[in-house]
Symmetry: C2
Subunit: 371 residues, 2 copies
């Protein structure tokens, strides 16, 4: 967090003969005025041209430049912020954003999480002593009745959060309205029977996300799942500000395209800061050791960044998934601590009896990590 201008740290491997300082100046121009020198009034050039604050050489022949931008450029829109950070640079193919310094004045324009980490705990009735457990409702292809039956069993077993698979949208096998009505009813029925407080998070997609959010709320849902890189960051911001008050978990689909190791935006910046600023209450991402390529240090960096102080923006809840084995849960609880959602998908379904599998997982997490 800094005062003044928005500072972005770009890294790249300079081509043979490339002058990193000249390249940094080109990048600063590309991402701001996007006009050759002399084509803008002097006062505009002075204020709005991106400024190269520093250029240095870092390890392994890579260059690092800090470029600063006037805060008026992104305005208060998360999508424009993403465009300013990386929109055109993505087409240069070799640049990576390693970090961003967020000025207080910029942070104040973004709502950030409406409920955040504390909101997820409150709604699920789980104190700070243990992590939250999440299951995924799947697979696509089931009817609403079949999905609702699974939802009931997982809720009855005591899972805290039940999210739709990201493949569930508004398909002929399970149209949105019927699917969400049945699943929410099943979860509410299980809650009533057990005294539990499982929260169901239906996946909101398509051109009318706001209308689906309102429909979900009318049906009794207290949260939802959205995929910011598909529906747009501003759609997330819109949901965080609307009058449904839904708890919002984000799904990382397409994240690999935008958050690569050599180009794109560092995952801890994209998921840990940009998604959080845009309004994510919980941010789901793949854990190391599962089905996706992600390093242990990246997973920890995202986890820290979501909860780190960031002006007056509330902490968001880190949610780890992507192939978590229930047998290894104690290990992950030790690593990440209690302020974490653990999503177990296939690991529950493999056990056949979903209610027992969920109950076993709940017991394990209440027992706490083995020392």
């Amino acid at each position: 967090v800094s005062d003044g201008r928005l500072r972005v740290v770009y890294e790249w491997r300079p081509a043979r003969g490339e002058d990193p300082r000249g390249r940094a100046a080109d990048m600063a121009r590309e991402q701001s005025l996007e006009l050759p020198p002399g084509c803008a009034p002097a006062a505009v050039e002075e204020r709005f041209l991106g400024r190269v604050e520093a250029v240095e050489t870092v390890g392994r022949g890579r260059a690092r430049a800090t470029v600063s931008f006037d805060l008026a450029l992104p305005g208060g829109e998360a999508g424009q912020l993403l465009d300013l950070l990386y929109g055109h640079l993505s087409m240069q193919g070799d640049v990576r954003i390693a970090g961003v310094e967020w000025p207080v004045a910029l942070l104040e324009r973004f709502p950030g999480p409406r409920h955040g980490l504390a909101g997820f705990r409150d709604r699920c009735g789980v104190g700070p002593e243990r992590p939250l457990l999440c299951a995924a409702l799947k697979p696509p292809g089931l009817t609403p009745a079949e999905l609702a039956e699974r939802a009931h069993e997982l809720a009855a077993g005591g899972i805290d959060l039940l999210k739709d698979d990201h493949g569930l949208a508004d398909q002929e096998m399970a149209p949105f309205a019927e699917r969400v009505a049945r699943c929410q009813e099943a979860v509410a029925r299980a809650n009533a029977a057990t005294g539990g407080r499982t929260v169901y998070l239906p996946h909101l997609t398509g051109p009318a996300v706001a209308a689906r959010a309102a429909a979900a709320r009318r049906l009794g849902c207290e949260g939802a799942l959205v995929t910011p890189l598909i529906v747009g960051l501003d759609t997330l911001t819109g949901l965080a500000a609307d009058d449904t008050g839904l708890l919002l978990m984000t799904h990382p689909s397409l994240m690999g395209a935008l958050a690569g190791p050599r180009r794109g935006i560092a995952p801890e910046v994209l998921l840990g800061e940009v998604f959080r600023l845009a309004g994510a209450d919980a941010v789901l991402y793949p854990n190391v050791g599962g089905r996706f390529r992600v390093s242990a240090s990246t997973c920890l960096a995202i986890h820290r960044r979501l909860r780190a102080p960031l002006g007056r923006v509330r902490p968001a809840m880190p949610a780890l998934g992507g192939g978590i084995d229930p047998a290894r849960l104690p290990r992950w609880v030790r690593r990440y601590g209690p302020d974490t959602v653990f999503l177990v998908g296939g690991g529950l379904y493999r056990q056949g009896d979903l209610r027992r599998a969920a109950a076993r997982l709940r017991e394990a997490v209440e027992r706490g990590p083995r020392r």
Copy 2:
């Protein structure tokens, strides 16, 4: 275009010791049921599990797999289609989509361009004999009055299309409503004076894109610019179906993240087919030889794909930009032919007198390519 299932061609370089057939089967499962074998009812597994249709080795040690999916999985939403094609696979880091076979039954669910290539010609009053010329309104940082003055000069010079810079959104220097009102008024005034038909395309951003589209239409705008990878493909689809009837040009910001040479989606598939299906009337992308990394063959492939037969989906207008030098325009006209929009940005501003620069460009394009 094919009957039956949606076929996607994935390419990757197998790791040492990796069995490409096993990997393809894992990818097919990841992108469809996303559950281990045996966790879904047999009928669901039979119909909805992605099927590996073929696996082969192609040049330079790369593997190619054709995987097919049931059409019900994407439903009729462009965002879900993108999620199905590449959402989770993006997080595997090494997979590229080389091509997609579009079944007629799937194409029929997507509106595609409402106006398309012919609509852009009609609205600008330009027959099939010449390309359309587009200028960019910039830089961000100008006031609405300053932007409107530039808009007036470019329209008076005879430019066909005037698009906002993608950096113009809803900022303190030029709030959306005032900026668009002034610029549209300036263009209309120039049109009235010259008898021209310049169409102004304001950039629609933020959480309320639909409301901004309606506002632009009320102000007299006949088109708009949207960035699908930032506002979401479904937002584009929504605009293509709404009652504003705006001509929609898409901006390629963030394209480099999703359309890389070794991973991501082949640019001719993403821009030439997916954007078109989602409702783009014109698709802007960087030309070879400009400021961005793109090959001559990719530029031609996108150009062809936008106009190629695709069920009953209308052809879209290819729009090339990203650093086109007015002096080289005849060369590009020879290469791409008349069914093209050429966006000249800095090349006009560098000349100082925008009206004369635009008029000179218009004369050049009416004279036709030198033989």
